[in-house]
Symmetry: D2
Subunit: 389 residues, 4 copies
């Protein structure tokens, strides 16, 4: 049994907490044979949070500067839950210091940066992983198994979406996520990259696309002290801020294998608390998924006799090892945070075994390419090609 | 009470039967005050069907040539259920003979033809109607009522689709519908026009679009004697035919009111017996519809208090007069053919009252413009504008 | 081609209109080979409605007294859409006059009466039919086909319900349906009999049961002039009426074939516009139905391989002749009123061919036995047996 | 911050693992202010598992005999995940030794035993909790909030079920769960108690009931080495074992507040991987829940205007503190195991604060009374009353 020493950067945020929990927890579900993790360092810029962090993880070092971790020979794995615009810099430093890296998505702010990170890791033989957790729900392993076995034939069409209602109401105030200087790709990188990770996992690489990026609400009031989802009674004296990155994006695309795709995502989808769906059509069958029934896949096959054909509601179950780890019965509710436990178990197993697992920084590169192409296509209002490198 | 004398052209096909039934039946549901209809002539090219037609509609004339109807002063309304490529010629002749016209969709094979028909009708003060029946399901009157009352605010996004599985299997043999010389717009005019009718009814006119028309299966075997949905055991000696019109189309668009749209339709959606959905997002709420629950609308409103917000499943009910005509309780299953009874009642009432009702040939023109734009955009692989005339 | 002459009794009510429409309409869907119908007489007690009836059915006699129909040698089939408490008397008179009879459900107010009617019909060789229309939706023929082929094995459990919200609100005023002297069995006969018809059609006869009949709201205000579903602002001076028949009933039962059942129905199910469901479990598979998706059946089979098992959503389609008659595609919405067209076509075909079709008065007798047993079991608060005669 | 020292008994089973994980994990979600837990002892009868347990929980004592824990002054909370037939004995010993107790459900094998345990705990002022975890999903707090606020009015009806397919196939071999000498109440205590916990949480106490307990498959083959869900190819030389406890139970009941209930549960529901539903009808609204959409509640209210009424799909969200602890967005998938984290956090907070939280042993007593009544009612085939003590 090998123990991997982990530093979690950005430890007080939601992802930081969940990653920390995941390292501590996965052996209860996956055992200790594939290796275990010890969270040795928690990084949070704000010293006021140090005490709470220490209480949560007895024995861990609490530090304010991520550079301390890079320099620390007692750290094997750097886990990056920092703001998006720090991912590239920190990941690069960690890789160059010879650390394995698990970086929350998006990997970087441009395909060039992502390419560089993947190349450094490859050159040094380090394990990398991007936090595209959604496809690690075992229900998508079931989807992949069905596709790889040829049960839906050749894939001809992919349709997917991810919608939230963060900004459906025009009176929801301005926040940094809507500022193109802080978050240049807006919804495209933030939410779109999740859909792109399903495309990458289940269909293959995207070769060309046309995107229509849309700013639905061009100005929002600047109001302090409002929680997420709260709206404002305006006093008339508010400042207003321009919204400078996309609220929504609608995309047509082609895949390397000849399939076509139609995809959209939105943060202004009034009423959609969290909507994530895909449909995959093939020459012999099809698949359909909605996050509303989080562990269930709909599968249609022409192998069923006429008169008995219909979408089957298959609940992923203990036939799949990453499901069996958690629950003894199908349809027993494997939650979102638990896919993070799967990711933690897999990244540790990768390091111990030396075998990379999807999604690596190479995957992150492909997804960043798609994000870049959406931005450029929408500016040009034209189809753009994606280099297959 | 006024009786309108109707000739049904193409009386033996599905639509011909349903239209004939609808004229005879609507007074049971809508009463006789708005006028009644008498089917005086049935037209079918095939004389072998005359006897069955006579048995079905005692008292009606049975003729083989539609020109006899045009010349007949005893006919007030010409109802066209003929093949698509005859719509323009027959409708034009009927209008020029001073007949009111109810024409099954699509109205014509080009926007120019549709424009001409609408202009003739307008010049002569005749009642016209296109057979876009889906939006006449009263559940869509409920949607329109909610939109018109401002309950979802300004519309920002429309998403819609219509999918069938006629051609999902590449071994389903060639049929005339897949021949670009007989049906130049393929799925775009055939199925897309239904989605476009919802857009026209609920959102407004389309101003620009980009389409990706796709031929998924480029060649199919030519095999005689197979029924719809049957596949072929190939002998090796089949002829193969090229598929020369679109199997699917994926579209981004903009609307006159500033909303954006994303739409797709397909005849190769393996597993989708008949799928028709739309979602309409606004600044204060949203609507969602799926044909699977044919008389139910999902409605979300920000007017609900936080913690009690969610899509409401509203079953259209007897509050709506065209529902109350048929059924005393909500969620009691108003079927597709019954929307044709609504259409028949409305076209007769239009003629008797002199007041046109949606969808007229003007509507048909708008929809044909969208079809044309899809064909041209996909050829050019570029956004195209639609003239607002 | 034989034409059957029909008299519709109670022609102005909803069922009267729909039956009349159905006789006129079915040849458009089912052709004329199995016979046709001519509605020769419409009976309505109220002379004020005669003119509207004459306008709706040109050529029919309009009479006020049902006895005229019984005496009329020009009537072959008596179709009874009268109030429930007249069913027995009118059906008996019609049978004794040698007429075939189609009687809306419930057949009679006691098992003894139903028995007597079935016996008279049998002795005279007349065709009988009870208007249990729900199971004639072809989706239930699909269910029966699956059961009869052994695809779900031996049936072990039946679960069913039917709920409406007519009376969920205690301020909905008193109406005659809630008066035990006018409608002695309340919800049990009114709504329960629909569920019992599914049990009879799909599972078999009931051998014993225990029922809990419940009056949820013991008194309601008497208020004139309110429509269905409207509630009252009370003035304080209303009269109140006692509710004297069941608002709801909850039932456990056993079937002849050894299966067990659990069933409930209610008119006080706040929120349920119309809810009708069943689930049938067997040793090899199961079926589930909900009226929300009116033409769709869910089918589960252990014959599917492990890892691919799940309920299939099967849309009944043109493989089934009574579906093909109406629509060329599955999932295209066959409505409730259209099952009445199927019933009309079947009763005419029965008369012309001399072959009875389910549900006959014998079926009506079985269902009435179950209703009687519910009333008696609930009074005794004990299991009761049902004689298998 | 107070640390509670916990011993987990039965640490290698599914529940043992999840409880252990939950004590370690909850501070990441709920913070440390309400107290923390340290798992000091793990009990497993099988010494072969000691090493794996030690690896999973570094620092914990690993023992084979639960009596060591009772005698250990360093243990504050005894957490019982042992086989059902040990619950009473161990809980009693722990309470008498002055330990707080968290006992997995069912609390005991008879109402008398449960009563005794509740009385001891009360006399000694100890915190008790039964592991009825399903209702601790925050979606049910939302249901309770709606009910308690009077938003559905007076509750009139409860309908609930829980179905699994463990034993749908008669060839699934015999296992101890089906042996009445080892598990006298069969499905009633095993699965029914979950439904009873919802009734207790949301509606109130049951006053009388009638149950029909059913053995669907009276004999099963005895075959070694088969996994859960696997069936047997019989050789003809198998031994067969009698099934001597209920496979299913169907129940009618009355509640203290006047509502009526209908409930069933089954382990022979072919096709139901895990089905758990409830519907609660009131005089002003209603609620409906299905585990298929694990964090979503359907809510109907007559306060909505006519024409806009319908079930709202409300996703429990961060308005609810036990949801906010885990996820920042509604409909983001809170899993089953995470409700165990809520339970662990609550039991620790109870001990630290001295304030008991639902469900205590008193709750466990009420639920055990219902189980007992089902067994006795089914034997007598008669309604039985439940003492309200």
């Amino acid at each position: 049994m090998t123990e991997i020493r982990v530093a979690v950067l950005g430890a007080s945020g939601w992802m930081g907490k969940v990653h920390t929990m995941a390292y501590e927890t996965f052996p209860h579900f996956f055992g200790t044979e594939g290796g275990t993790a010890r969270v040795v360092t928690l990084v949070d810029r704000n010293p006021a949070r140090a005490q709470e962090l220490a209480a949560r993880v007895p024995g861990a070092r609490i530090v304010q500067d991520w550079r301390e971790v890079i320099a620390d020979p007692e750290v094997d794995l750097v886990d990056i839950c920092l703001p998006d615009n720090l991912h590239y810099e920190v990941a690069k430093a960690a890789l160059e210091a010879g650390k394995h890296v698990f970086c929350e998505k998006p990997l970087a702010e441009s395909a060039e940066e992502a390419r560089e990170l993947a190349d450094i890791a490859k050159a040094r033989g380090l394990i990398t992983r991007v936090g595209h957790g959604f496809p690690r729900n075992p229900v998508h392993d079931l989807a992949k198994e069905i596709i790889d076995a040829g049960e839906i034939g050749e894939i001809t069409m992919f349709k997917g979406c991810q919608h939230v209602d963060m900004y459906g109401d025009p009176m929801v105030p301005y926040m940094w996520r809507a500022d193109g200087s802080l978050a240049p790709t807006g919804i495209v990188g933030d939410t779109g990259s999740h859909v792109f990770s399903f495309m990458e996992f289940l269909v293959g690489r995207v070769t060309s696309l046309i995107a229509n990026n849309i700013i639905v609400t061009p100005r929002r009031p600047k109001i302090e002290g409002l929680g997420l989802g709260e709206t404002a009674e305006l006093t008339g004296s508010e400042e207003w801020a321009d919204i400078t990155n996309p609220d929504a994006s609608q995309i047509l695309c082609t895949f390397e294998n000849g399939a076509n795709g139609i995809v959209d995502f939105s943060r202004v989808a009034t009423g959609r608390k969290f909507m994530q769906t895909y449909e995959i059509y093939g020459t012999k069958g099809s698949l359909a998924y909605t996050f509303d029934e989080v562990n269930r896949l709909r599968f249609y096959t022409n192998a069923d006799p006429i008169g008995r054909r219909g979408y089957r509601e298959i609940d992923v179950g203990p036939e799949h090892p990453t499901y069996a780890a958690f629950l003894p019965l199908p349809n027993f509710a494997l939650g979102y945070n638990e896919t993070k436990i799967i990711e933690a178990a897999e990244v540790i197993r990768s390091i111990v075994s030396g075998k990379a697992m999807w999604p690596t920084f190479e995957t992150g590169h492909h997804i960043t390419q798609i994000v870049d192409a959406c931005m450029s296509s929408s500016r040009q209002r034209a189809w753009v090609d994606i280099p297959q490198s």
